[in-house]
């Protein structure tokens, strides 16, 4: 089910490491870039390309939080609520985004435009708190006005890749 380009990218990753298994993470990113999530059939194809069994690929994929196990919306919004962000208003940011998008954390807007969630995992932008990542880009020093502007800008853009390969 994977495109020739993705299969070639997986093959290149396999060549980069002394052990083909090391290419699992980069391969899963390549899959997510193409399909926006990791369908089980695609994971089986990765396993075949790397010469390991599908259950091993699934075991790895489910350990890491950034791989989507279900199809997400066109854009992904991640809001940090760890202490350093909370001290500067992350809870208010989360409440605002929830109102603005009209769905709770961990869900997708009815039009399929945004999947958003708050995360307790520090994203490494405490100096610009409160912050969020939109399609992996850092957006810092958030205010309601800035959030509106960012979401409006992103909504007008095409769906972007969902991983470091993109």
């Amino acid at each position: 089910m994977l495109a020739a380009q993705t299969r070639a990218e997986i093959e290149r990753a396999r060549q980069r490491y002394p052990s083909p298994r090391s290419a699992i993470l980069p391969s899963l990113w390549a899959v997510q870039n193409e399909l926006s999530w990791l369908p089980p059939e695609a994971m089986a194809e990765v396993a075949e390309l790397l010469g390991i069994v599908p259950s091993e690929v699934q075991a790895v994929a489910t350990f890491y939080s950034m791989y989507f196990k279900h199809p997400p919306g066109r854009h992904h919004v991640l809001v940090c609520v760890q202490a350093a962000c909370a001290l500067r208003g992350a809870d208010e940011t989360v409440a605002y985004i929830e109102r603005r998008l009209g769905c709770p954390s961990g869900s997708t807007t009815a039009d399929g435009m945004f999947t958003w969630e708050s995360t307790i995992e520090c994203l490494g932008a405490c100096g610009g708190a409160p912050m969020m990542q939109v399609d992996h880009h850092f957006e810092e020093n958030l205010t309601p006005e800035r959030i509106d502007a960012i979401l409006a800008r992103v909504a007008a853009e095409p769906a972007t890749h969902h991983g470091p390969g993109g």
């Binding site: 993470l25 950034m66 909370a86 001290l87 520090c122 994203l123 100096g127």
Partner: protein, 432 residues
């Protein structure tokens, strides 16, 4: 002692992220010196002499770590730990964003000193733009002859492989990083054997932090003796301080080790915001113990802060003003460790669950005093009993906060809501 711009000296120069500008600022001269004028062992000796200690959190002397590699086993590997995920830490991202070639030069110097042909740069998945930047810089360096075969016309061969993680704090623990790099669930390994003896692919491996390696061009360029004169006796050099929380000017500031915390707090951070008073602060990152305003006069010295019951860890400073609820902050930190526990060992997997459940009840004001009494018990069954430091450190902040703010913790019991938030609601209103 004061602000000292060593790693951040050229930051702000237009285009520093590109090779020509980095070279114009003297970049890659130290690598040239290393390859043309020094033996690998001489570099190791210089690093030992410099007194450089690891900047990832544990503060282990870098030269000593290097010298644990068995002399005659090859290949050896170098892993660069850019999995920065400790709450309140963002210095590695800053160094990558602002001066990526300094890191790459440091990696190459370390690879030469350790006679490594493959360096794996493990960067957390969330640092997406930073990963793309590093990939671009490695290619730029390759085209200029700094990476790849016959580097600078010598026999030195080294490739740098940028490897993106996918969201797991535990992969910052060096053996879990190695597991993840090998294509497994990132779970820590039993030590010994230490990575220096049996690491990546079963071979001798050194794992060094981004900031640690970014120091190497300066040590090689100026000499270990010169570096040693900067900072304090057993905490040499500078460090980048990630300052966050209730301060006027959050951000990353580089200061000489040994400077007073107060100077960082008042002069660089601008003190507490909104004219309020300081209630507490956490040095070192999410794992470390809480300190009080009286500790502001401590020096930024790893040993001095350890004596005061905390640690400089990975170089963070999170400041909390008088309106802060320490139960709430503790709850978030405990939640972090619960979320990030890899599940390998029971004390951490189960302990962080019980901790988190208790802290949520406490913050909601529905826990009883008896339930609060179990906190120390839960933590005692974790600290020192977990497979790796993640579980141990999941107890440090909350227990230190409980000891220092016991009345505040107890006031939450049966309070039906957070009493601190109730008291300060007018203050909190203008937050966002």
């Amino acid at each position: 002692m004061a602000e000292y711009r060593l790693l951040t000296r050229d930051i702000g120069t237009e285009g520093l992220q590109t090779l020509p500008v980095y070279e114009r600022k003297g970049g890659y001269q130290a690598l040239r010196t290393a390859l043309k004028e020094r033996t690998p062992d001489e570099i190791v000796e210089q690093v030992k002499l410099s007194g450089l200690r690891g900047r990832g959190g544990a503060g282990f002397p870098t030269g000593t770590k290097w010298s644990f590699l068995p002399r005659d086993i090859f290949p050896r590997y170098l892993c660069i730990n850019a999995d920065e995920s400790e709450p309140a830490c963002f210095k590695d991202r800053y160094l990558i964003d602002e001066n990526p070639h300094q890191l790459i030069e440091g990696i190459l110097i370390a690879a030469y000193a350790l006679q490594v042909r493959h360096a794996f740069l493990y960067i957390r998945g969330e640092y997406h733009d930073q990963r793309l930047l590093l990939e671009r810089c490695v290619e730029e360096a390759r085209r200029a002859g700094y990476v790849g075969e016959r580097i600078l016309g010598t026999d030195f061969v080294c490739d740098i492989i940028v490897h993106g993680g996918a969201g797991a704090y535990i992969c910052g623990e060096e053996t879990a990083l190695i597991d993840s790099l090998e294509g497994y669930r990132g779970q820590p390994r039993l030590k010994p054997p230490f990575p220096a003896v049996k690491g990546l692919y079963g071979k001798p491996t050194v794992v060094n932090n981004v900031e640690t390696l970014s120091n190497l061009p300066h040590i090689v360029g100026n000499g270990g003796e010169w570096f040693k004169a900067i900072g304090a006796e057993r905490s040499t050099g500078t460090r980048l301080w990630c300052c966050s929380g209730h301060i006027e000017r959050p951000g990353c500031y580089e200061m000489e080790l040994g400077s007073p915390i107060r100077e960082l707090f008042e002069e660089h951070c601008g003190g507490v915001w909104k004219g309020r008073a300081l209630k507490a602060f956490q040095p070192g990152g999410g794992s470390m113990q809480v300190l009080l305003p009286e500790h502001l006069d401590l020096p930024l010295d790893m040993d001095a802060v350890m004596k005061a019951g905390s640690s400089l860890g990975a170089g963070a400073m999170m400041f909390m003003d008088e309106t802060t609820c320490l139960v709430n902050v503790s709850m978030r930190l405990v939640d972090f460790y619960h979320h990030e526990s890899c599940g390998k060992c029971a004390p951490c997997r189960e302990g962080t669950y019980f901790e988190s459940k208790l802290m949520h009840k406490l913050e909601a004001g529905v826990a009883t005093l008896d339930e609060l009494g179990t906190l120390a018990d839960i933590c005692a069954n974790m600290d020192g009993k977990c497979f790796c430091p993640l579980g141990d450190t999941a107890t440090w902040f909350v227990m230190s906060a409980y000891r220092a703010f016991r009345e505040e913790f107890e006031a939450h019991c049966g309070a039906e809501g957070c009493p601190v938030a109730r008291e300060h609601r007018p203050l909190l209103a203008g937050h966002a």
